[in-house]
């Protein structure tokens, strides 16, 4: 199997896997919310029926972050699909990569805001952001990943313009 096809398959598995897991979690939570409300808690202690504004902000951040994560995978799938069709310099390839980059950047920002709210709710204080690399799930790593996709999109866009100029050179 070619590298591109393998990459397409991996992203497809990841994308549909995330959607499946998110759907199961959502359905499970809705079931518990309507039929066992006393057990329907988010982050072990947030009751949807008695939420403070910070609790609501935390839940909202989580939902938006999940949507952005799925959106970034969606756009990545679209650009990989174009590349697998040997259409690397199509106008949509760079566009989808750029959108995926923006989704990843926004995801890292909103996820980080959610983590600060969660930290404040648990400990009552907010720690000043540090530059420590805490693993591949860290704010800085994900932000750099988003910027990297933006860079790749810019490179592909410039390549497309050069190709177009070359194609129109007789």
């Amino acid at each position: 199997m070619g590298t591109t096809k393998l990459l397409t398959l991996l992203i497809d598995i990841f994308y549909f896997g995330v959607i499946l897991v998110s759907s199961i979690v959502l359905i499970g939570f809705l079931y518990m919310f309507f039929f066992e409300p006393e057990n329907a808690l988010i982050y072990s202690n947030i009751d949807l029926r008695n939420m403070t504004s910070l609790d609501f902000a935390l839940v909202l951040c989580s939902i938006i972050a999940t949507i952005l994560f799925i959106a970034s995978l969606f756009y990545l799938r679209k650009s990989i699909y174009r590349i697998s069709k040997n259409d690397l310099y199509h106008i949509d390839t760079a566009k989808y990569l750029k959108l995926a980059g923006w989704c990843i950047i926004l995801y890292s920002l909103i996820k980080n805001i959610g983590e600060y709210i969660k930290l404040y709710l648990e400990e009552g204080t907010i720690t000043i952001i540090s530059l420590d690399f805490k693993g591949f799930n860290s704010f800085w790593f994900i932000m750099i990943l988003g910027l990297f996709f933006q860079l790749i999109a810019t490179v592909l866009e410039n390549g497309r313009k050069l190709k177009l100029e070359n194609d129109l050179t007789i």
Binding site: L168, T169, I170
Partner: protein
């Protein structure tokens, strides 16, 4: 585009068809059409040389710089 390609004029003078010129200089009819209609971004010297050889003309007979077009664009 400020550079105008006057291939049609030269082809008419030499009583030659576009397809014949394209075949003799070794480019496709589609590429020659791109050149004639002003959509080309650039032309290689090798292509220009071949055109001049086949049509027995100078580059200035084929390529023209239109200053009025530039002034219209600026206004």
């Amino acid at each position: 585009m400020k550079i105008i390609v006057n291939l049609d004029v030269m082809l008419a003078k030499r009583k030659m068809k576009s397809n014949e010129l394209a075949e003799r200089i070794g480019i496709t009819a589609a590429n020659l059409s791109i050149l004639k209609t002003g959509k080309a971004k650039a032309i290689r010297f090798s292509t220009l040389e071949m055109i001049c050889e086949v049509l027995e003309c100078q580059p200035g007979d084929i390529l023209e710089y239109n200053k009025e077009d530039l002034q219209q664009q600026d206004s």
